[in-house]
Symmetry: C2
Subunit: 183 residues, 2 copies
């Protein structure tokens, strides 16, 4: 067993990836305080090849220099936009057919590894590091996901939780529909 | 749908968790540069209730004040130790029956969501942010896991990759063996 060399790994360019078909999942990142967490979410969104990342409220955008330390260039490959208010955006996405799913511990949260085909296309909403997804978004959301917590804490770091959830969601999208563009 | 209150979530104390049976997985974190990444790994290890976290080489330990910002107290619930050299530790763990699995892109890496029961108990090794798991550990490892990358980058942030991998590993451990202590 040996590590692959950079030549063998041979990743596509940001321009190429922008033109590739995407997994039927997009992301709303509302009021995330730390630009490092935003960078990590952008980098995971590149890895998961999501359709789009909506940065809302006071969530920082790729224009912040500090984001580059954690996104490491992924911001050039991921389609993103900023919206001050999340609720009109979420209503509009729902009108387009997206299921609005909050990553939050609620009285109806379900695991991220058992997501039925009817829930796609899906918009995953993550929220503030301390307060989580806001009540007004929970009121609007169609459903919620939560990760099991077997230790002392009630949650993981928001960037880590997002990574686990988005990888689960695209894995199941591929199980249901095949690779993006296959249909 | 409504968010759960703190009272409803009702997490166990670090002392309680220390006495709970653990999932049959432990972690080696070798030469991870950023104390924030170490803190995130400790926090995810609490969430996943792993047996133990071995911090090796120049990986920082919970004695660093800056770790508390990302571990948020999880360091009091997770069993951990520091070892300067990883190879004697890994050989010793293998002698105890652990499969040594590197989280690294190699010519034989397999996905983290199809792990057979015979690979448990399992020791997951993660490495440096830039250079990954070192060649000497790859030479010693029994197998390697890698996460799919559908975008431009060759990898995720090490804390995020660890979170995805460890949650996959404990999910499958529970499928194979039930909750920890069930046998």
């Amino acid at each position: 067993m040996r590590k692959l060399s950079w030549d063998e790994i041979n990743r596509p360019s940001p321009e190429d990836v922008q033109n590739f078909p995407k997994h039927p999942v997009r992301t709303v990142v509302h009021n995330v305080r730390s630009i490092h967490n935003v960078g990590s979410i952008i980098r995971s969104s590149d890895g998961a090849r999501v359709e789009h990342v909506h940065l809302t409220g006071y969530t920082g955008t790729p224009e912040h220099n500090d984001l580059h330390k954690t996104a490491l260039g992924a911001q050039d490959a991921v389609s993103w936009s900023h919206h001050e208010a999340p609720l009109p955006l979420l209503r509009s996405l729902r009108d387009e057919g997206y299921t609005i799913a909050a990553l939050e511990l609620t009285d109806h949260s379900s695991p991220t590894d058992q997501v039925s085909a009817e829930l796609y296309p899906l918009c995953l909403v993550v929220g503030n590091e301390v307060h989580g997804v806001s009540d007004e978004i929970i009121d609007l959301a169609d459903c919620a996901f939560a990760l099991p917590q077997y230790g002392t804490k009630i949650s993981l770091n928001v960037g880590v939780a997002y990574g686990i959830a988005i990888y689960d969601l695209i894995r199941q999208a591929r199980t249901h529909f095949g690779p993006p563009g296959a249909q």
